[in-house]
Symmetry: none
Subunit: 203 residues, 4 copies
């Protein structure tokens, strides 16, 4: 990946940056994020665990949040579009996969933490959206386009709205209940919203 979120640098002169250090830092950060959560994540501890000086981290990311955003966007596996020819089914599959994956990983909590600071650092939230949420968004968009073309989804709603309708209840349920969203509940919620996104003539 192009380190677009890293501190920009002039064309290479002198000793090049160590790719080993890059990897060690990101790995250490991810591990610590999983073990201790976002709030306890410390650049100090990352440096220690990565066997790296703290300035070596700052040379790459100017802030703890920058590093976290990088780690989140880089390490979360890309979401595959199912594309079975049944848009409704594809959405259901994706929603459950995405949301349960998000919720049962440190990533989910970290995303919240970063968003909590979005007022203060809009760029960060933007980058997180860009690298984390929008790639998934694009997959949704494709499925919806397919569903629209084949009359499987109501054309009265845009792709964005459909996305909100399908994913929103799952996320909200997680927030409100506090429990790690089980697949059954997720399936129930997706099922419940279907009447809203199916074409009117569908029943």
């Amino acid at each position: 990946m192009v380190p677009s979120d890293q501190v920009s640098r002039p064309p290479s002169r002198g000793r090049p940056r160590s790719a080993d250090a890059d990897r060690a830092i990101v790995t250490a950060a991810l591990d610590l994020l999983e073990q201790h959560g976002y709030a306890r994540l410390t650049l100090e501890s990352v440096a220690r665990r990565a066997g790296v000086g703290r300035p070596t981290i700052y040379r790459r990311w100017s802030t703890k949040d920058d590093l976290v955003v990088h780690v989140l966007t880089e390490t979360v596996p890309p979401l595959e579009a199912p594309v079975t020819g049944d848009a409704v089914n594809d959405l259901r599959t994706m929603a459950i996969e995405f949301v349960t994956g998000l919720v049962n990983s440190p990533a989910g909590r970290s995303v919240l933490a970063v968003h909590a600071e979005a007022g203060r650092r809009p760029d960060l939230a933007a980058r997180l959206r860009e690298g984390y949420l929008l790639p998934r968004d694009r997959v949704v968009r494709d499925i919806v386009a397919y569903g629209h073309r084949h009359g499987q989804l109501t054309t009265g709603l845009g792709a964005e709205t459909i996305r909100d309708l399908v994913f929103g209840p799952l996320i909200y349920h997680w927030l409100v209940s506090g429990d790690p969203l089980d697949p059954d509940t997720a399936a129930t919620l997706v099922e419940a919203v279907l009447p809203a996104i199916r074409p009117p003539r569908a029943h």
Copy 2:
């Protein structure tokens, strides 16, 4: 309010805690939360602004998060049930009011911040749900019960599910877009989900 979220104390002996200090601390915390956000909130700065010694805060709340949860649950105005006889309309009104209120206040971001730490401090997230989200939940429950009785809402879905369907898309939209959810978008999303919660015979 019974200070159930404060550090427990034996029955009154010695000098009682100062209600003035209570108020000053909570006020200061709320102000600073609004001005600088959750991450920059410091017990030090709260103490300074409240004109209070730091130990006076620790005597009441053992943690920044404890204090924030208290402030959130105590200061956010209670949500009124509209009760116009039209359950669907009531839900719409409530959703827009609640969500826009939540999103355009420091409370929203702070709720996220606390939830981000829910893995580490489940009690906090629980208390936040109890004091902040569930009171609103109860209002929804009443409206849904009314709607069920009068055939305005499908009986196929429980109150909890309906709540998720109505509120979820709004929250999710806010998270994903990063913008402060305007009423129009909110209305659109609520409108879109109606087919899912109206009774089948409704059209």
Copy 3:
């Protein structure tokens, strides 16, 4: 003893001060002084150990140093004048007894600690001298007077000077060597100074 070093009070009305509390405080202070030394002595800890509220201590002594001075002057056993008819021998006995007693008790260190603050609180050092050192001084004075009268001590030196000559080397040795002055060394030092205080005709 008249509590002249305690905070003064108007003529008795209301509940009289508890003699139990007096004793408990002094005992606790002495114990803690022995166990942990002057620097670690805390009015808090004294109160705790004495089973007494902190204000009860402040009602009697306005300062840690006041309390310590009181404890030192009250608890150190009075020095007996030997009066054997041999002034030189009496001085030797007294010096060894006094100095070894002083040095091998927490009192010695505490006396130093108080004196270290004499610049700031001259009254305290004065009171310590008055209650602790001068009573011993008076005994010395008596012995010297006897010695002068009977030609056992040179009349060229005042009682004060003789006191300094006899006691000073012992104390100084203790300070410089750091070891708990043993009786042999003490005896040697007293012996060495005798030529200076004996009358010229004595040999």
Copy 4:
């Protein structure tokens, strides 16, 4: 001077410690010692006055006492041996110079304060003796050796004993009287002790 009393460190790696900070800390500590005395000396206040972070002090000295000992041993001017060929006269000169210098400076009180804690921190008292008292001791030793060789001092007493006899009364007088030992009194006391240290045949 080798900073043997500072916290030990591995051979040089990373940024070296700032000599400026060293100086600023020691100067600030000395000033505050003079102005407010030992008891009011605070690492916090030293840091503030030195324009230095508190951790920068702790990196060098782990304790207020460590710092004070360093300051005392480093800043007190070295004592010069007079060496006039008259050992008795040299001792007199030295005693008066040393003791009046010690007594009329914050150093004197501070030495007492540190000694008061000698029970708890024997290493500190030892270091203070080593860096503060023993250098003076060595000068005394030289003078005594000279006096012994030239029959100016009794050979019946060791250098250490002579030191105690000459210096002790001065120090003790200071402790007991509470006054800042004037040169006249000092001279009287030294004069008085001479018969004890002169050789028997000297009169």
